[in-house]
């Protein structure tokens, strides 16, 4: 029915651009307000422990199970390719490097966005729609400090640990398949791995990656919850946005970080 003129379309496009910039700015202010300055009234440590439980411990099961399976699959695939060149012993090296450099941080971040990130968004969105955030503010407690900050910190702390656990169980799963099932000699499996994995290049870079991902994913999740339309439709949209934005951000950043860390230029 309604026809839009070219000028109108340009106007709408411009407005959408300005909206994006404004949202970005709002999210940065949101982060600064939450993390800097006066800390939460009351027992901040207790709040953090509670969130570490909700965000970290509750994500443990999915991380461990996925880690084992991914390690096992890597081992199987690696073996079938490497055995063509007669270098089955290198399977340990391949599994470890793949997990430490890429799959550990990235898959953990993606699973974390789906499991903990969406839950954070929904929880905060729900608090907003039931006016719990407003009511905190009216009691004189800053919801950014009381609700948001502990969740942000819990995410920042949990994800690198989860990524490390993911890599360890993944390598364990890979070793199980390679050694017990495919018959790779145990000594050369581990020796090859230890010879080729460097602590600084591989382990530390992986940890740095997952720290960056933790920051971005948690920020997106919490901000989407805080900024959502306070209706049930708004919350479900925000939850979807969390998973989509966080996943895209993780994959995009992974490319940049990999280029910076392992690229030779």
């Amino acid at each position: 029915m309604r026809r839009t003129s070219l000028l109108e379309r340009v106007r709408l496009f411009g407005r959408a651009g300005i909206d994006v910039v404004a949202t970005l700015g709002r999210s940065v202010l949101f982060l600064l307000h939450s993390l800097l300055g006066r800390t939460a009234t009351g027992n901040g440590f207790q709040l953090l422990v509670k969130q570490l439980y909700a965000v970290g411990v509750m994500s443990l099961a999915i991380i461990v199970v996925s880690g084992v399976f991914i390690g096992m699959v890597l081992s199987l695939q690696g073996y079938s390719i490497l055995s063509q060149y007669g270098s089955e012993q290198a399977v340990g090296q391949m599994v470890a490097l793949t997990l430490l450099r890429e799959l550990g941080p990235v898959v953990t971040a993606l699973l974390f966005a789906g499991r903990a990130g969406s839950a954070l968004t929904a929880e905060i969105g729900n608090m907003k729609s039931t006016e719990q955030l407003s009511s905190l503010a009216m009691i004189g407690v800053d919801p950014l400090k009381y609700i948001v900050a502990p969740r942000l910190w819990a995410g920042f702390i949990s994800m690198p640990l989860l990524a490390a656990i993911f890599s360890v169980v993944g390598i364990w799963g890979g070793a199980m398949v390679a050694i017990d099932w495919l018959g790779v000699y145990e000594g050369s499996f581990w020796a090859n791995m230890q010879n080729s994995v460097s602590f600084r290049e591989d382990v530390l870079n992986g940890v740095i990656k997952s720290v960056v991902f933790a920051f971005v994913v948690t920020w997106i999740a919490v901000f989407q919850g805080y900024d959502c339309e306070p209706t049930s439709e708004g919350i479900s949209k925000a939850t979807t946005r969390t998973v989509v934005y966080a996943s895209l951000a993780v994959l995009g950043l992974d490319f940049i970080l990999t280029a910076l860390m392992f690229g030779d230029f």
Binding site: V49, K50, L52, Y53, G56, V57, L60, Y85, G86, S87, A96, L100, I157, S158, P160, L161, L162, A164, I165, S167, V168, I171, W190, M193, Q194, N195, S196, V197, S198, F199, D202, V203, V207
Partner: protein, 153 residues
């Protein structure tokens, strides 16, 4: 009471995470704390180090006795200078030992093999191995082969 289980859960989680990091460091990357102790530095100049990388093995009679820690270009002689850390236990290498860049298998990684010389004096921290054999470069080999066949005709 419920608070207590929560705290214990979080504590276990943090411990598991730190333990995982430790495992990655020690078991997977084979990081040895206080590396550098019990080892000494030896240098070697190669005309061509193609393919050799930092952390490559240094072997003798097939046994790993050290690793490469740095590779740089010597500006004066235009050769590649390789720095190796050798185990302290192997302190009886003659000064005229030969270091050659070898390949594990046809396409495998490059490593340094050391074969024993005959002198009395032994290598110590900071010494230079003079007798070296460079990496085998396939292009050069083919070039030589072609030149030979041209010369024969």
């Amino acid at each position: 009471m419920q608070n207590r289980t929560l705290e214990i859960g979080v504590g276990l989680f943090l411990l598991a995470g730190v333990l995982a990091l430790l495992l990655l460091a020690l078991r997977v990357s084979g990081l040895t704390l206080g590396a550098g102790e019990g080892s000494y530095k030896v240098y070697a100049h190669f005309d061509n180090i193609a393919g050799l990388t930092v952390r490559s093995k240094v072997t003798m009679a097939g046994v790993t006795i050290g690793r490469v820690t740095a590779i740089d270009l010597d500006r004066d002689s235009y050769t590649g200078r390789v720095t190796m850390l050798l185990n302290q236990e192997v302190d009886n290498l003659p000064e005229d030992s030969t270091a050659s860049i070898l390949t594990a298998g046809l396409l495998g990684e490059k490593y340094i093999g050391i074969s024993v010389g005959g002198e009395e004096a032994v290598l110590s921290d900071g010494s230079v191995i003079h007798d070296t054999q460079s990496s085998l470069v396939l292009e050069d080999l083919i070039g030589k082969f072609l030149l030979n066949s041209v010369n024969k005709e």
